[in-house]
Symmetry: C2
């Protein structure tokens, strides 16, 4: 079988469900037209082949899970340890370097637990910001996908009361342009249609329920349209996500975390994918956490954790890689 360049999966927190779902994803995808390896501790997975470079992946992938080995202390499932932090971070750094150097088509990150890394001195708010620093990307944009819905966020992890003052015309314009370019480059959509969600209920009802739409969101949309970005004025968020509405756009630009994540996770709780746009490399991840509680339920890493979201993340990264390659060939 023809194998494109592989994807690199990161270790994630080894005390979480990452190792279990990584192996399950490999079982599910070993005969599909994708291939990947994990940068981790071979002891965490059954049926492995050790590799020392991504170009060896295609040889093994149908038969065993290829692992690029790194040192990792012994871990009991469900019991996270600060001493894992070095391995967790190193796995991410290696994956990013391999992507930057063109040895892998993209990276798929397994879930990490921020508290574990914080205790080890990690200072980034999360995965996304760490990847942005490693790749010197000025504005990483979080996009969630589920089924036919794509939602990119203008603000992400902050208290609700800080959202309104954080949203500026400039931030909307920069975020929307990154989304527009990604939809073209990574999703193969020639003329992407972006629906912008209002910040306030009923998109502010002409100022009766807030002025952000009139003063910030709609002026940003006007400027974006004059720059060739096909984005709507602010639309009421509550009527923006049902099946018929979704036919009218390729992605939504949402103003804050729950506005975007509620519809994504309501529509498809198990199969959602988190994608970071605005990086020079392709990066996706499952949209769930480490699930330490679930991982703790089986000492043999057979907790029943569902690999759906990781599988969707792998397929999404693979498809994005294809699009980017085709775009390069065409240009």
């Amino acid at each position: 079988m023809f194998r494109a360049k592989p994807l690199a999966l990161t270790l994630g927190d080894p005390a979480g469900i990452g190792p279990e779902i990584t192996h399950k994803a490999w079982q599910s995808l070993r005969n599909e037209n994708v291939c990947f390896f994990v940068i981790g501790d071979p002891k965490l997975y059954p049926d492995v082949s050790l590799i020392n470079a991504p170009d060896q992946v295609a040889t093994y992938f149908s038969n065993t899970l290829p692992v690029l080995p790194i040192d990792c202390p012994h871990i009991t499932p469900g019991k996270p340890k600060t001493s894992s932090a070095d391995a967790i971070i190193k796995s991410i750094e290696i994956a990013v370097k391999l992507a930057q150097d063109g040895h892998v088509s993209g990276i798929v990150t397994n879930p990490i637990a921020k508290e574990v890394l914080y205790r080890a001195g990690f200072s980034h708010p999360g995965h996304t910001e760490f990847l942005a620093q490693l790749t010197q990307a000025p504005l990483p944009v979080m996009m969630l996908c589920a089924q036919d819905l794509r939602v990119a966020l203008v603000t992400i992890h902050m208290a609700l009361q800080d959202v309104a003052e954080t949203i500026t015309e400039s931030l909307i314009i920069r975020t929307a342009k990154i989304l527009h370019n990604a939809l073209q480059q990574d999703f193969g959509i020639k003329n992407p249609r972006i629906a912008m969600a209002g910040l306030n209920p009923h998109a502010g009802e002409n100022g009766a329920l807030g002025h952000a739409e009139v003063e910030i969101l709609n002026p940003a949309a006007t400027k974006l349209r004059s720059d060739g970005v096909n984005i709507s004025d602010a639309r009421p968020a509550d009527t923006l996500f049902h099946a018929e509405a979704r036919l009218g756009y390729d992605a939504v630009l949402a103003m804050y975390h729950d506005q975007g994540l509620i519809p994504v996770k309501t529509i498809d709780f198990h199969g959602g994918v988190n994608t970071t746009l605005g990086l020079p490399i392709i990066r996706t991840s499952p949209d769930h956490g480490t699930a330490f509680d679930l991982a703790a339920s089986s000492s043999t890493r057979n907790s029943g954790a569902r690999p759906d979201s990781l599988i969707a993340a792998i397929k999404a990264a693979h498809a994005m890689g294809d699009c980017r390659t085709n775009a390069k060939i065409a240009s």
Copy 2:
């Protein structure tokens, strides 16, 4: 066929789709075990019987739409007029009086347009607040239902940036108690389970993303539980609304408009029902507006407007009436 006490439907704005969906709802329900009449202008509906009291409804309902007539100026569909305001308001006032006096089992309100009423001197933020004043209810609570999901709101029509400072422990406690009582009295749920949504993303992540959960929401939940209300601590809103999660509660207490309405309208855009809890009378309404644009598309009131939401609102009010009657009989 046995007919329980009828429901009163209000006129709504006669330039909107109200008259069309009222007649369609009657066509759909004329042979079901519900009955209703509309307080409006007989000229707006084909196939009517004029009545002058609710107890005449049962006689006519299978054959014609019963109308309790009120004066209303001539209206062209899609062209709202300030001169309709008196009839719109009078229809609501009559419906409320009939419900208060026990002549109808509840009221179902057709959509109104606030701007039309404001121009005529109406001073309430909307239907809900007007009904609260008419019935002297101290705290009307908006609840939306779609399929198996019920969501009540702590705050409703306000700018997003005002939400955080409006939410107090007292407001949560009062709202949750109204919800709890309504679930028992009007929905026949003996021991209602209420899931409380967090205000902030990830329900504040123990204070890392906002303090409202730690300082306000969870203390309110503790007090409510000690008063016999089965309510959860604040839960992340994004993972609260998918099909599996919905099995774990009877209703969600949401903190703000879009947090509650996004999942309701994403799950069921056409069949959602708006219910006002905390009134002495039963009141439901469709969860859409007047749709003047759609109404304007047909001078014969045959615009293709879907009556699904109004039908669902009628059925919901009927079922609530049954529950309340049974509760009274049992007590």
